[in-house]
C-alpha cells in the first residue's frame, strides 16, 4: 500500500502541469454541482420559507404571484390599484390584526418609493416578533409632512443619511436624464438592516404618493390641487398587507374576494411562491444537467490527461514490474492516481463553491434584498466530492487496463 501511494505521489509530481490543469477542471465541475444544488435550495428556502410578517396581500384583479412579488419582494410592477374603500373595509374586519396600505408610483435612482402609513413602523413585523428599528436617532416619518424613511441598502448605496433631502423620480424604473418631481423629501431615519427585501425600499407617507406632482387619482382622472383635501373615493392603493388574527382566516376572505370581481387575495403567500418555484423548477433541472455534463467532461478530461501520458509511462510501468511490482499494483496505482486528482479537484471545488455561493448571495441580496444562509450545509457538499472521486476512479480504469496489460519484456527490450 505504501508503494502505491509513493508511486502515485511521484507520478502527480512528475506530471505536475497536467495534474494542476485536471485538478482545476475537476474542481470547477465539482464546485458547479455543489453550487447549483445549494443556491437553488437556499433560494427556494429563502423565498418561500421565511416569515414575512403578514399572511396575505390584497391587490387588483390579476396574478397572485405578481401581487406577492410586488409587495413582498418589491419586484415587478403592480397589477393595478384597488379602491381606498376596500382597504378600509378589510382594515375594519374583526379577524384582521393589521392592514397596511402599499402605494407605488415613484423611485429614487431605481430604489422603489412606497407610500404607506406609520403602522409600518408601529405594528408591522418583518419577521416574527421583529419590528423595524432605526439606526442612530432616526424617527418614523410624520404622515402630514414630506418625510421619508430609508431601508439600509438604499442609504448605503446612495450615501444618504438622516436629515438629507431628495426629490423622487416618476415610475418604478429610473430613467437617466428624466426630471424629478417638484416635491422635496426629508429623511427622518434610516432603518437597521433586516436582511429582507425591505432594505431596498424608501417609505413615505401614503398622502405623499397621492399628492405627488403629476400623479392622477380616481382611475387616472383626477389630480389633487396643492393644499386641497382628497376625497376618499379618489384614493387608491396598489396593495394591502394583511395580518390575520389567525392565518386560516385568509381562507374565508379569499372565498369572499373570489366571489367579487375587483380584487385578488394572494394567500397563503408561501404557497403562491412555492407554486412559482415549482413552475420554474425546470431551470434548476437544466442547470443541474449542465453541471452533470461538466462533471462528465471533467471525467473525460481526466481520462485523456492520464491516457495521453500512457505511452511515455508504459516503460515506467514495465520497470516497476521488472522490480517486482504486481500487475494489480500498477493497475491500482493508475486508478488511485485518477481518484486522487478527482479528490484534489473536489477540494478545489469547495473553493469554487464558496466563491459561487457568496457571489450568488450578494447578487440575490442586491437584486431582491433576500439573504441566503451561506452557512447552511447541503447534502451535495458530501456526495458531490464522493461522486467526483468515483468518476475519477472510473476515468482511470481504461488507462489502468492499458498499464495492466503492458508486455514487460517487450517494452524493456
Amino acid at each position: 500500500m505504501r508503494s502505491l501511494f509513493f508511486i502515485v505521489a511521484r507520478s502527480l509530481r512528475q506530471h505536475l502541469l497536467s495534474t494542476i490543469i485536471t485538478v482545476i477542471s475537476a474542481g470547477l465541475a465539482s464546485g458547479l454541482v455543489m453550487s447549483v444544488f445549494t443556491v437553488s435550495e437556499q433560494s427556494r428556502t429563502a423565498f418561500t420559507g421565511g416569515d414575512i410578517g403578514y399572511d396575505a396581500v390584497l391587490g387588483a384583479k390579476g396574478s397572485q404571484l405578481q401581487l406577492v412579488l410586488n409587495t413582498v419582494f418589491h419586484l415587478e410592477t403592480s397589477p393595478g390599484n384597488i379602491p381606498w374603500s376596500l382597504y378600509q373595509e378589510v382594515k375594519g374586519r374583526g379577524d384582521v390584526r393589521y392592514a397596511i396600505p402599499y402605494a407605488l408610483g415613484d423611485n429614487l435612482y431605481g430604489y422603489r418609493i412606497v407610500g404607506t402609513t406609520r403602522e409600518i413602523f408601529d405594528v408591522f413585523e418583518f419577521q416574527n416578533g421583529e419590528k423595524f428599528r432605526f439606526q442612530g436617532d432616526g424617527q418614523p416619518f410624520d404622515e402630514g409632512f414630506q418625510e421619508a424613511v430609508l431601508g439600509s441598502v438604499v442609504a448605503e448605496k446612495l450615501g444618504l443619511k438622516r436629515g438629507d433631502t431628495f426629490r423622487p423620480y416618476h415610475g418604478l424604473q429610473y430613467m437617466p436624464g428624466s426630471a424629478p418631481h417638484q416635491e422635496l423629501y426629508k429623511i427622518t431615519g434610516v432603518l437597521k438592516p433586516t436582511n429582507t427585501a425591505n432594505d431596498g425600499v424608501i417609505w413615505i407617507p401614503i398622502e405623499g404618493i397621492f399628492r405627488m406632482d403629476g400623479h392622477k387619482l380616481a382611475g387616472g382622472t383626477e389630480e389633487v390641487e396643492r393644499g386641497a383635501s382628497i376625497p376618499d373615493e379618489w384614493k387608491e392603493v396598489s396593495a394591502v398587507m394583511l395580518k390575520y388574527s389567525s392565518p386560516i382566516r385568509g381562507k374565508f376572505m379569499q372565498d369572499e374576494i373570489r366571489r367579487g370581481d375587483s380584487a385578488t387575495l394572494a394567500w397563503p403567500i408561501a404557497s403562491v411562491l412555492g407554486t412559482f418555484f415549482l413552475k420554474i423548477g425546470w431551470i434548476t433541472k437544466v442547470l443541474l444537467y449542465v453541471a452533470y455534463l461538466v462533471v462528465v467532461v471533467a471525467g473525460f478530461g481526466l481520462l485523456a490527461s492520464i491516457y495521453n501520458t500512457m505511452n511515455e509511462r508504459r516503460r515506467e510501468f514495465a520497470i516497476l514490474r521488472a522490480l517486482g511490482a504486481r500487475k494489480q499494483t500498477v493497475f491500482s496505482a493508475i486508478v488511485l492516481e485518477a481518484s486522487s486528482i478527482a479528490l484534489l479537484g473536489s477540494l478545489v471545488g469547495y473553493a469554487v463553491y464558496g466563491g459561487v455561493l457568496l457571489g450568488s448571495a450578494m447578487i440575490i441580496r442586491e437584486q431582491t434584498g433576500v439573504v441566503l444562509d451561506v452557512t447552511s450545509i447541503h447534502p451535495s457538499l458530501l456526495w458531490t466530492p464522493l461522486g467526483m472521486v468515483v468518476v475519477g476512479a472510473l476515468a482511470g480504469v481504461i488507462p489502468a487496463i492499458k498499464a495492466y496489460s503492458t508486455d514487460v519484456a517487450r517494452t524493456l527490450a
Binding site: F6, I319, L320, A322, L323, G324, A325, T329, A409, A413
Partner: protein
C-alpha cells in the same frame, strides 16, 4: 543443490509470417549460490530473452526454471513477481531508471516490492558507489556513469541472491566500464549474491576469465539467425 537451474528451457515467438520461431533452447544451465558467471554472446543472440526467462518476466514455452529446488517458472504471475522482488536484482543495459524519481527514490522503490524500504541501507549503497552528494538528483541530472551506479545500487538494494546484468557496461565510457563492473562484482561478493553477466564486451569477459559461450549454450542459435 544449485541456486538456479534451467531444464530444457525453450522459448519461441510467433513471427509475422505466422510461424513459431525458436529463440532460446537451453537444455541445461546451472548457477551456484555466490557464483559469478559471464555469458558471451553477440547482439541479437537471444541473451536478453534468456535473462528475462530466468527473471520470470517471460514464461518459457517449455522446460523449467528451478530456484533453490522449487520450480518457479510454473508459479502464478503474482507469486513470480514476489519471488523476483525478493530474490533477484536486475541491471539493464539502458539502466531503466525512473525519470521522475531521485537517485535515492529509484533505489528505495525497488525495496518496496521486496522486503520493504530501508532508506538507511539504500543511502549507504549509494554512498558506497560514490553518490553521496547525488541522492536527491534525478537521472537527467546525473552523468551516464552515475546513472549506471544508481542502477547497480537498485539491483542490490533488496540483498538479492542472484543479480542479472544485461550488458552492464554497454552504455559506458571505456574508462568507467571496468570500474563499474568491478563495483558490481565486489558488491555481489560482499552480499553473497550470485551474478550472471551477459556481454559481448571482451574487457568484461576477460575480467571474468572463463565466460560461457551463449552460442554453445543456446541450441536455437545453431538452427538459424535469431533476434533477441
Amino acid at each position: 543443490m544449485p541456486l538456479l537451474e534451467l531444464r530444457d528451457v525453450r522459448r519461441a515467438f510467433r513471427s509475422p509470417d505466422g510461424n513459431d520461431q525458436l529463440i532460446v533452447d537451453v537444455p541445461s544451465f546451472e548457477v551456484d549460490a555466490g557464483q559469478q558467471v559471464a555469458i558471451a554472446g553477440t547482439s541479437g543472440s537471444g541473451k536478453t530473452t534468456f535473462l528475462n526467462i530466468i527473471a520470470g518476466l517471460l514464461a518459457p514455452t517449455s522446460g523449467e526454471v528451478v530456484w533453490d529446488g522449487e520450480v518457479v517458472s510454473s508459479l502464478g504471475e503474482a507469486k513470480r513477481d514476489a519471488w523476483r522482488a525478493r530474490e533477484l536484482g536486475y541491471v539493464f543495459q539502458t539502466f531503466n531508471l525512473l525519470g521522475g524519481y531521485t537517485a535515492l527514490e529509484n533505489v528505495t522503490l525497488g525495496m518496496m516490492f521486496g522486503p520493504g524500504p530501508d532508506r538507511e541501507f539504500a543511502t549507504s549503497l549509494l554512498e558506497r558507489l560514490g553518490l553521496a552528494d547525488r541522492l536527491g538528483h534525478r537521472p537527467a541530472q546525473l552523468s551516464i556513469g552515475q546513472q549506471q551506479r544508481v542502477a547497480l545500487a537498485r539491483a542490490l538494494a533488496n540483498r538479492p541472491r542472484l543479480v542479472l546484468a544485461d550488458e552492464p557496461t554497454g552504455n559506458l565510457d571505456p574508462r568507467f566500464a571496468l570500474e563499474a563492473l568491478g563495483l558490481l562484482r565486489e558488491l555481489c561478493r560482499e552480499q553473497g549474491a550470485a551474478l550472471i553477466c551477459v556481454s559481448h564486451d571482451p574487457r568484461v569477459l576477460d575480467d571474468f576469465g572463463d565466460p560461457v559461450d551463449f552460442a554453445a549454450l543456446n541450441r536455437a542459435m545453431a538452427q538459424e539467425p535469431q533476434g533477441s
